[in-house]
Amino acid sequence: MRTYILRRILYAIPIALGVSIVCFSLVYIAPGDPLETVLPPDATAATIAQIKHIYGFDKPIPVQYVIWLGRVLAGNFGISIADGRPVILEVGQALKNTGLLALFAVPLAFTLGYAMGAVAGCFPGGWLDRTVTGAAVAGVSVPNYWLGIVLVILFSVQYMWLPATGMGPDGVSQLHLLQWRDLQYFVLPVITLAMIPIGIIARSTRAAVAEIRNQDFVQTLRAKGLSEWAVARHVLKNALPPVMAVMGLQFGYLLGGSILVETVFSWPGSGFLLSKAIINRDVPVLQGTILALSMIFVATNLIVDLLQSLVDPRLRRG
Amino acid sequence: MSAALDLAARVTDPRDRGGPRQPLLIARDLRKHFAVKGAKGKVVRAVDGISFAVRKGETLGVVGESGCGKSTLARLLLHLIVPDAGELVFDGEAVGAPGGISVGALRRQAQMVFQDSYSSLNPRMPVRDSVAFGPYVQGTKRPEARDIARRMLGQVGLDADLFGPRYPHELSGGQKQRVNIARALATGPRMVVLDEPVSALDKSVEAQVLNLLLDLKQRFGLTYLFISHDLGVVRFVSDRVLVVYLGRVVEVGPSEALFHEPKHPYTRALLASRPSMDPARRIEEAPIAGDPPNPIDPPSGCRFRTRCPFAEAVCAAREPALAADGWDAHAAACHMQDAGSGHSRAASAGSA
């Protein structure tokens, strides 16, 4: 067991390195001189020379990568071209805001998705199953940002119940989560963000549950005289490991998909930061945000794998 | 026994190089070890020094429990797996050695029938294409390959028009195995290695397929190496039998002699463990005690000693040798057979 944990952690390191290489090379696939991407447009010749030296643009690429990696590990993600602030501060703040969204969206998506899928799986072929499956397919086919727009149309434009954009009337610094005044800003973005994961998780759960119910050991449990409830508990427990993998992936989706949802709701999170960086061609921010988000995803996958091995003893032998 | 030699003399194959006295296949000290995943330095000694010879026209049966290395041996003989040590000599020529016979040429003369009839046929190919694939690969043009396939299907008792275009999932187990046999014979081999060919079939079908195999052997003058864990089947089919335990040969001899008077305790136990049809003769105790040992860490000396009721100190100290001189010799690798071994029962055993 311990060897599995160790191996899994060790395995994450080259992945993380690979991810960092991809992020590093983003600057190079951008059109134009890589130097320009990190310079503000009105830089003087002296600044250009200085930046060139600091970033090491006059050195071969692998060396530049190592320099870059060193800086990143030390916490220096560069300076934003748009507003001159250190990227790491902006990214940190933005991540906190996205984290708040995730805090609500994740439990919602996981529990609702799992429940729907479990119910559908326990009554395969019935109307409940078809409804849930249909809803799940619909959920996966919908562009989530469009769903956000529709929800805004319904609840902000037509009925004026909920605010359309933003993260709170007084801005981020004055957030009181326990007051409806601030909480109401969360409702639409969280629902929008959770939609697609609910669909995917429901589908996976349904498939897992239906498959497990067909297995012999379930018949054995029934033959032993267990009530349907007890049998269902066993089934759901066994359905958890494969679904956990899906949940982990969905968490990553939340990180990535947040970019679209946050843009719709002008939610000052990492996704919004990313879309602003795209508009401004602010490559340091682009690079820094993507690096941060993907590292979080790598870490999440690692944790999910380890958790999975805890729950599913078959995986432990590595 | 002489019938086999007569047969060999009668069938003159143009590819014959060594003459009727040359064994078709000689295996010398074959070894194959597989590294154990995760455990450094540990190996599974699947085949650990097996030597034997197969005469032209005979059927050599190979018997053993699951995990004794039979399937690995089968694949070694066709060079589907490369041996770690040892050599193979086909009709007098060393396989894979310079000046000898190449692996490609070996594959034109020796073929294999696999155990699992389901997975040995490509589910996406009609059966006749599977049979025609061998000749096609070896250079025959497609139309002729198809003709060969048609004829071979007929030879194994399947109507080529009816069965040719069918897919494996549309055939029964027995029919699939016939197709496998047709496929093996389509390239016109001289030797066929049969790895548990009837183990997955129902008993009634098994008899049919065995009879078919014997029939084909006569018709085409084939030599068989027949691997099975089923003693009754091996006895029925084989001229001589090899008994394998944990990667080594423990007994060899003519079929009837071996089954009538087994010399090695393992063979004896195998034979005794067959359930009898007679309800009055029930087996009270399991003839073999203990679990099959670990092929990673075999016992020192004689590998069977941990399950042998006659084991003594000498059995742990030295590994018994298999002293088989002559084709029809019946010998066992057991200290009880060797008068000079120091085993308390050694003096009483003579050579049968």
């Binding site: 249909g134 727009i149 434009v157 970019i259 | 294999m112 155990q115 690969v137 029964s172």
Partner: protein, 323 residues
């Protein structure tokens, strides 16, 4: 959609037993009859593809949605003939008009252009961005996966580890990162999406190849003396193309969604080219004026994506039956 309209049927006309459908050894068709080599009735034999066609023909749900998809494709391809107006024709007075205003069935957008026409033309870009990246990724990813799966060992490990690195990115993020860095535009968007889809397809192909490679008939082919390339061509591809195709077909709708997302962020086509995602973005400010007109492009995306998904599910149900 897991509603299977028909039970898979064997060549002999009898319904397939569950075990046979799942690929497990089931009751032998002729076990009861005398084990005679001529015991099968003389019925026409169906090949695998014919049986797929049979199952599809008897699956009304999938056929219905496939028809819708066909309709959408035709409408997009023949947009110049079908569209009532010029999608680029602006109008100063006719901006943001609701449904049915002066003959504009679906209203007008923020520059006065006819929504219906723009939607029809937008379908072209959407379908293009949905199909092309998946197609290219299938070829590239499929090849890499088959080579890796067949070769095994170090080559396989190296390939799959490289794919794992790209797997470490959520797809939206990766697409945005690549397209964003490259500067947007339809070509860059397609490149980004192709790169996003290569790893999963490669993985599917590699898994299928590895599974097939372990089966005895591959060894039998080797025993016949066949070279690796011949074995791949005759034995492996036939068994791998199925899973890859099924998986790729499910990616088309994902590709469309991702592409529209890129356009929404300004990384896709450039205005004034009609594109559903771009339209959603430009119309966003106007939801306070004509809310449902502004939601229309999303409806188009949703319907197209939904239908593609269901057709892909139906294809999977028809093709995934194990032999």
């Amino acid at each position: 959609m897991t509603v299977m309209a028909s039970q898979p049927v064997m060549a002999s006309g009898q319904p397939m037993a569950a075990e046979q459908v799942m690929g497990l050894p089931g009751p032998e068709p002729d076990a009861a009859a005398a084990p005679d080599a001529h015991a099968l009735p003389a019925i026409t034999v169906r090949s695998y593809w014919q049986s797929v066609g049979y199952r599809l023909r008897h699956d009304p749900a999938t056929l219905c949605f496939a028809a819708i998809v066909l309709l959408i494709v035709l409408a997009a391809v023949f947009a110049p003939l079908v569209a009532p107006d010029n999608p680029f024709q602006e109008s100063i007075i006719g901006r943001l008009k609701p449904f049915g205003w002066r003959g504009h069935l679906l209203g007008t957008d923020e520059l006065g252009r006819d929504m219906l026409s723009r939607l029809l033309f937008g379908g072209r870009v959407a379908l293009l961005m949905g199909v092309v990246p998946v197609l290219i990724a299938s070829v590239v990813g499929g090849t890499l996966g088959v080579i890796g799966g067949f070769a095994g060992g170090m080559i396989n490990t190296a390939t799959m580890r490289t794919m794992d690195v790209f797997y470490a990115f959520p797809s939206v993020l990766l697409a945005v990162a690549i397209a964003g860095a490259m500067g947007g535009g339809i070509a860059n968007g397609m490149i980004a999406l192709t790169l996003v889809f290569i790893p999963p397809i490669c993985r599917v192909a590699e898994t299928a190849t590895t599974q097939v490679r372990g089966l005895d008939f591959i060894e039998a082919a080797r025993a016949s003396g066949a070279r690796p390339l011949t074995i791949i061509r005759h034995h492996v591809l036939g068994n791998v193309l199925g899973p890859v195709f099924i998986y790729a077909s499910s990616l088309v709708s994902v590709s469309m969604l991702l592409a529209s997302g890129l356009s929404f962020l300004g990384l896709g086509v450039r205005p004034p080219t009609p594109d559903w995602g771009l339209m959603l973005s430009t119309l966003r400010q106007s939801i306070w004026v004509v809310p449902w007109v502004c939601a229309l492009p999303g409806v188009a995306i949703f319907i197209t994506s939904f239908c593609f998904n269901l057709v892909s599910d139906g294809l999977r149900a028809a093709m995934d039956v194990r032999m």
